[in-house]
Symmetry: C2
């Protein structure tokens, strides 16, 4: 049996917090385990919304027992209106990971887009399309937050994995090849 | 015996998270219960830093059993460099409050300054000086994060309390009178 890494990706947000769990094998092939969105009501007190997110994340961790958690990194310059709530949700996500004894990592949106589409400025549809292709899904994962969470999990597994062996390279998807090439270019 | 409200004020931050607990009586007089700072190492992983803050806050809540928690509201435009970490810490603070079954509230820095100094743009020294005077401390509370946490707790108790009765008004400090007057002006 091949080794596999089970990654929980979290796209933090108060209204919709995307969660995606994937198994990624040594040869970089990936399989969908779980995808969903934790929602909290916009008119609920902020502490209740954060508690809803923490509860939802703990339930996903308990059910799917990931090896590692990847959380999207939030920047102050993105989308002023909701960025503080997003940062608060990301703090809760990192805390919940840590309190389950899981390693946590953060990746920027452009790292995630580059990992799955080969292009750091890819749009939402490109990300959804590539996530569906990589995981061999019949439909695009929706909403975008759920697709982003899966992309984040894939990004984490691939970035953390050793550089593709000859055997690994043979089974890379187009996006994986693009990513591996971009990575090689980056190292030059 | 007079009724009193025990408030935990939290000035969120990754490097220094200020915590202050005060008892505020019906007549608006206040007493220091606890003041401190939860520190986390700047070179530690973000999830460890957030877990350190959560652990420190839970210890303060367990020891001092506050009735309510007040957390400083964070804005995206303040201090770009550290604002994301501050927001993540505030998310953790609100979650910890909620998970202890405590009501939580947020107040803006200018609300807090106005509450204790009568002036929404007061500087750090003015806040520290007024907090020391209100709580009858022999020394200024330091660092500023600790003073801010106490100011936040006082602000919350006073804003939440019913408007000063004749009896209450007799024992107001100068800052409390200034605040009550500002509040009355605001209602006109």
């Amino acid at each position: 049996m091949r080794n596999r890494l089970r990654v929980l990706g979290i796209d933090p947000g108060l209204t919709r917090c995307g969660v995606g769990v994937v198994d990624v094998a040594d040869d970089r092939t990936a399989r969908l385990v779980h995808v969903g969105v934790i929602r909290s009501a916009a008119d609920a007190p902020i502490e209740d919304r954060l508690a809803t997110i923490a509860r939802g994340l703990r339930a996903v961790i308990a059910e799917h027992t990931p090896d590692v958690v990847a959380v999207e990194r939030v920047f102050a310059q993105n989308n002023r209106h909701s960025v503080m709530g997003t940062a608060q949700a990301s703090g809760v996500a990192l805390l919940v990971a840590r309190e389950h004894g899981l390693a946590a990592a953060t990746h920027t949106p452009s790292e995630v887009k580059a990992a799955v589409t080969g292009y750091g400025s890819a749009d939402k549809l490109q990300v959804q399309t590539m996530v569906a292709r990589i995981l061999r899904l019949d439909e695009l994962p929706t909403p975008a937050d759920a697709a982003d969470a899966l992309a984040l999990a894939l990004c984490h597994a691939w970035r953390g994995a050793p550089a593709g062996s000859a055997r690994g390279a043979a089974v890379l998807t187009p996006a994986q090849r693009a990513w591996a090439e971009a990575e090689r270019r980056g190292r030059r």
